[in-house]
């Protein structure tokens, strides 16, 4: 990891408390570091300072040079200085009065419709109006009014009258996402956020504006009027949409997932996520989906009890001459380990492959040799990308394949990062990264100051070339479970068949993912999506990602925990495999009584799911 040298410290006094912070720190951050919260709207630690809402005014009786400022100053734009004396609202009546004045002004054109606003209950304006405002407004005039809401995109609605014009959203779009398609327009009190005609806010990160809007101006169309924050229970989890490993906050009400927000994880996604992770809500305990096992009976599928279905699965596997396991690329590390153990210990087969298809014969060998078991410490990390001199992209589209990787690269540009892409054609993403396009890997001149990011499509021959170059490198798969599956050993070993060969051989298969096609022989399918049961002889519903806890390993080999939202009616894949293993280990008995001892997972009628 490229750590920067420890920064020079500056000592100042805030509300009588001496504090030392790195040079260049703003007063508002310095105050935060000793637990003093100065109210703010436009300020955001990850956005460039703007100083426009004026909420964070503090008194500075001594700027460090013996002289003070005659009027309160914005602490979000003021850099600390040695010997500086700062008085916040806690110790300066002048600062307090200034903040109260600004708050009153902010509210004169605000509708105060908190009871019907999505943000009510978690709103920085509401909260700070209580903590930093006066109890009563002296304004008895006419408020600005707008037609509401404006549809910015299919996903985003804007209620302009609630907006405090802090420009967090527009700065996010421009500075963080590189998609400057929303902007402030008009002037004075009629200033408003708008998008350009014919240029929609086309961004895979658009949902973040809902989260950083300090009022209820930007709302998500899906979530609008869907819940009140104080009725929601939050669960920390890790996103299952790609291998980026974003921390998420999943909010549910009685087990029903209502929304997902970016979680705070400075090492990975900072405070952002992408629209896939935010708006694609995985199924869970309260969603309708088939939850009863199915058995093939005379050519057609019919419902069966768990004991009967498991017994049939065991019987089919026992009968098979050859067996294989296809866990799929979306399993938690725990489930992947269970599939691996099932193949190794129960079926005794070397044929296991997490992949859905194989384009490259030698890929498995490379992954086993070069990717499997890598420790986080030896892996390239997000932080390295941000501070790198040069990053080379090989068969990897950061915005599509792992969007948060794109955000780090985009951030790195400001620190002098140069992006090179081995690509035949320019793209919008590459243009945003100001990437230099080269034709071959040789043209990319890999040296020890280079980091290579290779995507899943990258041929193993190229991967080997990269791995033997002086550059540091990382392989970034598309799917969330890939690294965990590789680490667990879900790849064909000595004498094992890969997924394509297994699907084309007459062998019995245990399949863990709906995306894996049907094979030729007896197939037991564990399904979390409730998709089509065709192509299975025994179809077993298993828990979705929200119905179990576990771990995902992202492309950095960093562990991210999967938070349980609510247990559903069906077990996790690992649990099903354990029962199946138990059956297969027992001496063969006749008929379906073999299922004895297996619980029927159907819960009693009306059983509460945990909230």
């Amino acid at each position: 990891m490229s750590e920067t040298a420890p920064a020079e410290l500056v000592t100042l006094t805030i509300d009588g408390i001496e504090v030392s912070v790195p040079k260049g720190t703003t007063v508002i951050r310095a105050a935060e570091s000793i637990g003093i919260a100065i109210p703010r709207f436009c300020d955001h630690p990850l956005l460039a300072p703007r100083g426009s809402c004026r909420m964070c005014l503090v008194e500075i009786p001594d700027a460090g040079n013996g002289r003070g400022f005659p009027a309160p100053q914005t602490s979000c734009t003021m850099a600390v200085a040695p010997g500086m004396v700062v008085q916040t609202q806690l110790t300066s009546p002048k600062a307090k009065a200034a903040q109260e004045g600004i708050m009153e002004l902010l509210l004169i054109n605000h509708p105060l419709d908190c009871p019907i606003c999505d943000k009510g209950g978690e709103c920085p304006l509401q909260n700070q109006a209580m903590s930093a405002g006066r109890a009563e407004s002296r304004f008895d005039g006419v408020k600005r009014r707008y037609e509401k809401p404006v549809k910015i995109t299919d996903r985003l609605l804007l209620d302009r009258e609630r907006c405090v014009l802090c420009a967090r959203c527009t700065r996010f779009a421009e500075e963080i996402a590189g998609d400057p398609f929303i902007s402030l327009a008009e002037r004075g009190a009629y200033q408003q956020v708008g998008s350009y005609p014919g240029e929609p806010f086309d961004s895979v990160f658009s949902g973040n504006v809902v989260q950083i809007c300090p009022v209820g101006a930007f709302t998500a169309a899906d979530y609008r009027f869907n819940a009140r924050p104080f009725d929601l229970v939050s669960v920390d989890t890790t996103c299952e949409q790609c291998a980026a490993g974003c921390s998420l906050r999943a909010d549910h009400r009685h087990g029903s997932l209502r929304r997902r927000l970016a979680g705070v994880n400075p090492e990975v996604n900072e405070e952002w996520n992408c629209d896939r992770g935010r708006f694609h809500l995985p199924l869970g305990a309260t969603d309708d989906r088939p939850l009863t096992p199915l058995l093939k009976d005379g050519g057609a599928m019919r419902e069966a009890s768990w004991p009967e279905a498991l017994a049939a699965a065991a019987a089919g596997l026992r009968k098979a001459l050859k067996t294989g396991v296809l866990p799929g690329p979306r399993q938690t590390a725990e489930n992947a380990a269970a599939f691996a153990a099932f193949a190794r210990d129960t079926l005794g087969t070397p044929s296991i492959d997490y992949r859905v298809r194989v384009k490259d014969e030698n890929q498995a060998a490379f992954l086993l040799e070069q990717v499997k078991g890598k420790a986080l410490a030896e892996s390239v990390q997000y932080r390295d990308l941000e501070n790198a001199a040069k990053v080379v992209l090989v068969d990897f589209d950061p915005e599509a394949d792992a969007p948060i990787v794109f955000l780090r690269l985009f951030k790195g540009l400001r620190k002098g990062l140069k992006v090179v892409a081995v690509a035949a054609e320019p793209s919008r993403t590459l243009a945003k990264l100001k990437a230099e396009l080269v034709e071959t890997l040789e043209d990319a001149a890999l040296d020890e100051n280079t980091i290579v990011l290779a995507g899943e499509r990258c041929a193993s021959e190229t991967l080997r070339q990269i791995a033997t170059s002086p550059a540091r490198w990382a392989w970034i798969p598309n799917d969330v479970g890939a690294i965990g599956a590789i680490d667990a050993g879900c790849l064909p070993g000595e004498g094992g068949l890969d997924v394509e060969r297994m699907l084309n051989a007459s062998m019995a298969l245990v399949v863990g993912d709906d995306a894996v096609e049907a094979g030729m022989g007896f197939t037991v399918r564990l399904s979390d999506l409730g998709d089509d049961a065709a192509g299975a002889d025994v179809w077993l519903p298993v828990a979705t990602v929200t119905e179990q806890s576990g771990t995902f390993l992202n492309w950095e080999h960093r562990r991210g925990s999967v938070g349980l939202i609510a247990k559903g009616r069906v077990p996790a894949a690992a649990e099903v495999l354990a029962h199946l293993a138990g059956l297969l280990a027992a001496p063969e008995t006749a008929g379906s009584e073999a299922g004895e001892g297996i619980p029927d997972f159907e819960p009693a009628e009306g059983e509460e799911v945990s909230a």
Binding site: C53, R54, L57, R138, G188
Partner: protein
């Protein structure tokens, strides 16, 4: 007492087709530029510094000192940007100068650019005055043709291009950093400082921004010397300037006189208050400068004199109002201007001007309530000094100074519409308003 006008900048305004290069050259034009190109840039800067010339755009910062802030070791190009946005209510000196004698400014730009090692200069003209922009463009074209612009000016080896840029009509674009954003093609809103324009201004390069009059004064200083310039004006406010008198005066217009001239002296030049009327109040330098009253007519109109009187010299735009004028109505009109021109970036200005207008409207209509005048002042207090840029300070100054001098008239707004107390037609200058 009386003052002798000192026409320097305005000397040629009365000539037939005074804006043509031929005329300007015939009157000694570009002699100063020729002289400057024979000196070193540092010498030119030294002369302007020595003259004591201070910015005529409002703040009065010493021009030569401003130039010396440009870091010459910065590898980026250096830019000179002339602020011709002139939008402050009452201010009308730069536009007439540009119409009557654009070459005075352009010669000033050649000299000033040379002094700061600038090879591309811009003139940012307010959007509403297409005719001024056209005249300026015509003058620039004449200079290219005459070899006073372009490559190797007059064989001196000095290259300079001048670009005339029209704004889109926003007062805030006169604020220097908003101007830079606008010039770069963005929405004109003030920038966070630091960095200051001298270090990272236009296109993040070292930039000097000066008012039209400041730069237009430079040729006369080069021609006549710093001492000549210093011989006029007061101790800390050297030289001459254009005072613009408008409103209820007999002969409104531009009056060029040494700094420190009093309002009484200027009134004398302008033929006094319109016949049969008397002075009620005036602004020393546009609507953003706190108003003054008849008690202040003998104060020297220079930078220190005005600060001493609790106001500012500003743009030296003396808006004159006689006893027929409703101060409430006047203040409301100014406030409406600021509300309309507030860029919206910061809360106190954006929301405060919205509120002030509503309060003043009630007072104008005689529908104010007991306590509204105090509320007006309280709102001003919540804006003043807390905004992002200086626009809001102006928006507040006109209100607080008006209440300070004429509080009873504002309180009359609790009962009586301003149009009844001060029938508006009596204030009109042209429609039979004069007695």
């Amino acid at each position: 007492m009386s003052v002798v006008p000192t026409p320097v900048l305005t000397a040629n305004w009365g000539q037939e087709r005074s804006w043509k290069l031929k005329k300007y050259l015939a009157g000694g034009g570009f002699k100063a530029a020729k002289k400057a190109l024979g000196l070193s840039p540092e010498e030119v800067m030294g002369i302007v510094k020595d003259s004591g010339l201070r910015g005529r755009g409002g703040a009065g910062f010493p021009t030569g000192v401003k130039w010396s802030f440009v870091p010459q070791d910065n590898p980026n190009p250096k830019y000179l940007v002339v602020n011709a946005d002139e939008s402050e209510p009452g201010t009308c000196k730069d536009m007439p100068l540009l119409l009557a004698s654009p070459h005075t400014l352009l010669e000033g730009i050649v000299i000033s650019s040379y002094a700061i090692h600038c090879h591309t200069a811009f003139v940012y003209v307010r959007g509403e005055v297409a005719h001024v922009a056209r005249r300026l463009q015509g003058a620039v074209a004449e200079l290219y043709e005459a070899g006073w612009l372009g490559k190797d000016i007059q064989g001196s080896g000095f290259d300079l291009d001048i670009i005339v840029h029209s704004g889109a009509g926003a007062y805030i674009c006169g604020e220097e950093t908003a101007l830079l954003d606008s010039l770069e093609g963005r929405r004109g809103q003030p920038r966070l400082r630091p960095p200051f324009p001298a270090v990272a201004g236009l296109y993040a390069s070292p930039t000097v921004i000066n008012n039209v009059e400041s730069i237009a004064t430079v040729p006369s200083i080069l021609r006549n010397g710093a001492e000549w310039f210093q011989s006029m004006g007061t101790e800390k406010s050297k030289g001459f300037t254009i005072y613009s008198l408008s409103g209820h005066v007999a002969n409104p217009g531009q009056y060029e006189a040494p700094l420190g001239t009093t309002f009484a002296e200027l009134l004398e030049l302008a033929g006094g208050i319109r016949a049969g009327h008397e002075l009620k109040f005036f602004t020393p330098g546009g609507s953003s400068t706190p108003i003054l009253t008849p008690a202040d007519v003998d104060l020297p109109l220079d930078y220190e004199g005005m600060v001493g009187a609790g106001t500012m010299l500003g743009t030296k735009a003396l808006q004159v109002f006689d006893e027929t004028t409703s101060i409430v109505r006047t203040t409301l009109r100014w406030s409406e201007f600021y509300k309309h021109e507030s860029c919206g970036k910061c809360t106190p200005c954006r929301e405060g001007t919205w509120w002030l207008v509503q309060l003043l409207k009630k007072l104008e209509a005689g529908q104010g309530q007991e306590g509204d005048v105090d509320k007006l002042l309280a709102v001003c207090d919540d804006i003043n000094g807390l905004s992002f840029c200086a626009l809001a300070g102006g928006a507040v100054a006109c209100v607080t100074s008006a209440v300070k001098h004429f509080r009873p008239e504002f309180e009359l707004g609790y009962t009586t519409p301003a149009w009844e107390a001060y029938p508006y037609e009596r204030s009109a200058l042209f429609a039979g308003g004069a007695k």
